[in-house]
Amino acid sequence: MVSRFTRRVALTVPLSLWSTGAFAFGDGGAFHPRLLRAGNHPPLGVRTSGAGRWSWELVRRTSAPARLVPAEVAADQSSLQAEPFVIWAGDADPGPLSSAEVRGLTRFLRLGGVLVVDDSNPASGAFGRGARRELSRVLPESAPVRLDSGHVLFKTFYIVDRPVGRVLGPPELSAIVRGKNAQVIFLQHDLLGALARSGEGFALETEPGGLEQREHAVRLAVNIAMYVLCSDYKDDQVHAPFLMRRRARQKP
């Protein structure tokens, strides 16, 4: 009862405000897409609003609570360890990370945090390559691997066939998997770009375009959020027969 009330209040709050009153209890556990500042960090521009929209969509579509106001956190700040999720986005090579940033990210990942690396300019791929290069300094023992279509990320809430963002991008995801968890997820689809808002509408057009592509981008964002909140819950055996039947229905 209370949770419904607080979530409804949250939906009515403008994105620019903290939902402090309603979500105070439990706020610390709500999904919060923080934007990571690391290396050369040119401003993200309109994509900054994509994080807030991510939370908004999550709250609207699911039972998960989320904090609607985006926050930024630097890799060399101890507050990076305050929450287990952070997005590192950019459109150019981030350059080398400082030792303090490497240490900060190492501690974040060793505690079990999840980092999404979102390339805002997949056409050049400079950010993605640079991020991978720098993350190999953070986790030298772990290389990214391709996540197959059966990975839990594709079924944490929506049944997703392939990842898409503002751009269609490659049909698969890659990630650094530690233990059983995908801890660093590499996107080459400009997900924040697909979610970014400007006034009452979306800030950036999707490529090749269409409402359906944006909807699928939102679904991917929801799935990533659910993965952060529930880890591999949908891999539990109890879900298997349902998901198999639904996939079969989707692909006659």
Binding site: A30, C230, Q250
Partner: protein, 737 residues
């Protein structure tokens, strides 16, 4: 009595004796060699030479007359009296034990000329027996379910000192060892080491009219949730007519009526029948199962119609149900910790979507969601879980309300429950004044807002600081805790519940409001955690100081305590000896290192009664194990709950039986006694034939000894000199010089 004897060499060292004899023999051989071809007077040389040798030898050895004065003592006889619990069985209106003790007394008189040692035996160890003391009172610690004559005889054969000339065994013959099936050869081997006859005295030969549970066997380990086969042998003896005997197995639980696990009927063919019952124990730990029969009319020993067995139920894996009302970082942290533990079989259900959510699709096939199977989970599958974790889930919205009575019964029946905080937990989730509230360790009230949103740092209570359940956490951070945002509104802790963390500012019934509390309800345990931010121990700047290990330390303790893991108990409890109904019983308490303070004990009978049968407290006892007298208890299952200082109580369940396995077969076995006597060369008699037992011959023992030389030393020397002179003269006459 005096004996006289001649001693050739009194007081002479053995070496000297051999030297003298050797020289004499050599001399004699040399003389024979010298005289081998001589005739006539040579015989005088030989005779004088032999005489000289004898007299020289006597001069050296000085023979003496030895007088010995001795006494005749009675032979040693050991009387072994069966001290097993079985001898507490009645026989002709008397206790078999009393008959055996009186027989031992009579044997002492019968063997009055002998030295009689009375010993009691049961599980193998021999104990000195004083008949008067044994008749005056029964020491429960000396009674045993075993009646192990084999070990007793082995112990006797290994005792140092004089061996007995005879052994008398007083028993009804129904030994656990040697068994009835042991052949004569192995019985003979058993008695050979003693080298003495074993006489046997049968205290009774008449089987009572009795139907009983002869034995209960199980196959394999007792694992929670897995069927276990009980093979129950029923016996009928003494001419009692048994056709069909109903058998029931019930689990004894605290606060509720015994739970029927299985029942069946034993169809008698001859004197015995076997029935197999399949039972499933859902809860791990010590579980008491009562197996009882309904005997036919005329049964004279009702005490062996019921057995109470203690099963140590293990878990294959800990099976947990984790239900969360919405996905949060707190849910994530708990799930990841539960999934990381290979010993946990986790069944999780998270509410990911509500009816008000707009998923932007009308096709279920596009969603990876399944309906929350609330009815199925909380009816059909509930007993299969070892514990249930309800995390921030609204009981009203998600239709849990109608299952709360079953969930409360599940806890009372031995299940574990953790309610984790959040806006929809406790009173905020509709649990106030529900049946589930009664099994939580805190009251929920309901008049106030269900939660508060202020930041706070919980405070350890005295119990929290000393509780092993939080030791892992305090070892990492002492009594420091992270800041939590908001707390559920909890009422005061229930009686017997323990508050480990309390709110520094909020009050409940004029006391600091509990934040983390533990409690027991019936057979089960429950935990109330009134915050939704323990994930801060796994992932936060605070958590980073211990590399996130604090979260595992907290939840290891909470789940471990819930499942009665001994590592998280402040005490270890055990019975000091067997608990025999009607006889004084003792409980031993072993405090774990770090546990200090007064010790209190509450003893409750398992079953619907909730009033303690005994409460005790010991003020600041000395270190070391502590034994508490429980007094004479009635037949039944008991739950002892002991507490040291402010730490949470430790529970120990045990059974008190009147008969137990020792009374399972009330028939005496005089044939076995007769066989033992026969193979050892002894006699088997009844109580009325004690005087027929043969008394061994007494033993003569030397008491005084004196020696007197036959002649003074100078006389032997003079005689030897004269003989040597004569020998010299004879040799000269023969021309041997």
């Amino acid at each position: 009595m005096t004996l006289a004897a001649l001693a050739l060499a009194e007081g002479v060292p053995q070496l000297t004796l051999f030297a003298v004899l050797g020289l004499a023999l050599c001399s004699l051989a040399f003389l024979a060699f010298e005289l081998r071809k001589r005739e006539g007077a040579a015989v005088w040389v030989l005779l004088s030479g032999v005489l000289s040798l004898l007299l020289v030898g006597a001069a050296v050895l000085r023979p003496a007359r030895v007088n010995t004065r001795g006494v005749s003592v009675g032979a040693k006889i050991v009387v072994l009296v069966d001290q097993s619990r079985r001898l507490l069985l009645p026989s002709d209106g008397k206790m078999r034990r009393d008959l055996a003790l009186h027989a031992a007394d009579a044997l002492s008189k019968h063997f009055s000329g002998a030295r009689v040692a009375l010993r009691g035996f049961a599980s193998g160890e021999l104990r000195p027996l004083v008949v008067a003391d044994a008749l005056a009172h029964i020491n429960p610690s000396e009674l045993s379910d075993e009646s192990d004559l084999r070990s007793a005889l082995n112990a006797l054969s290994q005792e140092p000192g004089e061996r007995p000339k005879a052994i008398v065994v007083v028993s009804d013959g129904r030994f656990t060892r040697p068994s009835a099936t042991q052949d004569d050869a192995s019985l003979r081997e058993l008695t050979l080491a003693l080298g003495a006859p074993i006489h046997t005295v049968a205290v009774t030969e008449q089987a009572p009219r009795d139907a009983s549970i002869r034995s209960i066997r199980t196959s394999g380990a007792t694992v929670a949730h897995q069927p276990l086969a009980l093979t129950i042998e029923i016996g009928c003896g003494g001419g009692l007519s048994c056709a069909e005997v109903p058998v029931t197995a019930r689990e004894l639980r605290q606060g509720v009526e015994p739970f029927v696990l299985a029942s069946g009927v034993a169809k008698m063919t001859g004197e015995t029948a076997t029935v197999e019952l399949s039972i499933t124990l859902e809860r791990a730990g010590a579980r008491l199962v009562e197996v009882s029969i309904e005997p036919p009319e005329g049964d004279t020993i009702p005490e062996n119609n019921t057995r109470i067995l203690t099963f140590s139920v293990t878990r294959d894996r800990l099976r947990l149900l984790h239900v969360a009302g919405r996905p949060t970082y707190d849910v994530r942290a708990l799930r990841m910790w539960l999934k990381s533990d290979e010993s946990i079989d986790l069944i999780a259900f998270f509410i990911l979507r509500t009816d008000e959510d707009n998923t932007e699709t009308s096709e279920d096939s596009e969603l990876a969601l399944i309906p929350f199977p609330v009815d199925e989970l909380f009816t059909e599958h509930l007993p299969s879980f070892d514990a249930v974790i309800l995390q921030d889930i609204d009981a009203v919205t998600y239709k849990l309300l109608r299952h709360l009575p079953a969930l409360a019964n599940y806890v009372r029946g031995g299940g574990g429950l953790i309610m984790v905080g959040g806006p929809s937990a406790f009173a905020g989730g509709g649990y106030a004044r529900s049946p589930l509230e009664a099994v939580l360790p805190v009251e929920l009230g309901g008049g106030e807002p269900p939660f508060d949103t202020a930041d706070f740092v919980p405070r350890y209570t005295e119990a929290g600081r000393s509780a092993p359940v939080l030791r892992g956490l305090t070892e990492l951070f002492a009594d420091e805790l992270p800041t939590f945002t908001g707390s559920n509104t909890l009422g005061p802790a229930r009686p017997n519940a323990i508050t480990l963390w309390e709110h520094p500012d909020r009050r409940a019934a004029r006391m600091p409001m509990p934040v983390l509390a533990l409690g027991e309800s019936g057979d089960g345990r429950s935990i109330a955690l009134g915050v939704d931010g323990t994930h801060a121990l796994a992932f936060s700047e605070f958590a980073d100081r211990a590399a996130g290990r604090a979260y595992g330390a907290l939840w290891d303790g909470l789940v471990g305590w819930l499942m009665r893991d001994p590592r998280y108990e402040a005490l270890r409890l055990e019975l000091a000896g067997a608990c025999i109904a009607g006889l004084p019983a003792k409980l031993r308490l072993v405090r774990l290192p770090g546990s200090a303070g007064d010790v209190s004990l509450q003893l409750t009978r398992l079953g619907p009664q909730r009033t303690p049968v005994l409460t005790k407290s010991v003020k600041d006892p000395a270190p070391g194990p502590l034994e508490l007298e429980l007094g004479a208890l009635e037949v039944g299952g008991y739950s002892a709950s002991a507490r040291v200082g402010a730490a949470p109580p430790t529970r120990f369940d045990f059974a008190c039986e009147r008969g137990g396995p020792a009374w399972s077969d009330s028939r005496p076995d005089p044939e076995r006694l007769a066989r033992i006597a026969k193979v050892s060369g002894g006699r088997a008699v009844s109580l009325s034939q004690l005087s027929e037992l043969p008394v061994p011959d007494p033993i003569e023992v030397a008491a005084e000894r004196s020696s007197v030389p036959l002649l003074p030393a100078w006389a032997w020397t003079l005689a030897a000199s004269l003989a040597l002179g004569g020998h010299w003269y004879a040799r000269r006459r023969q021309g041997l010089l």
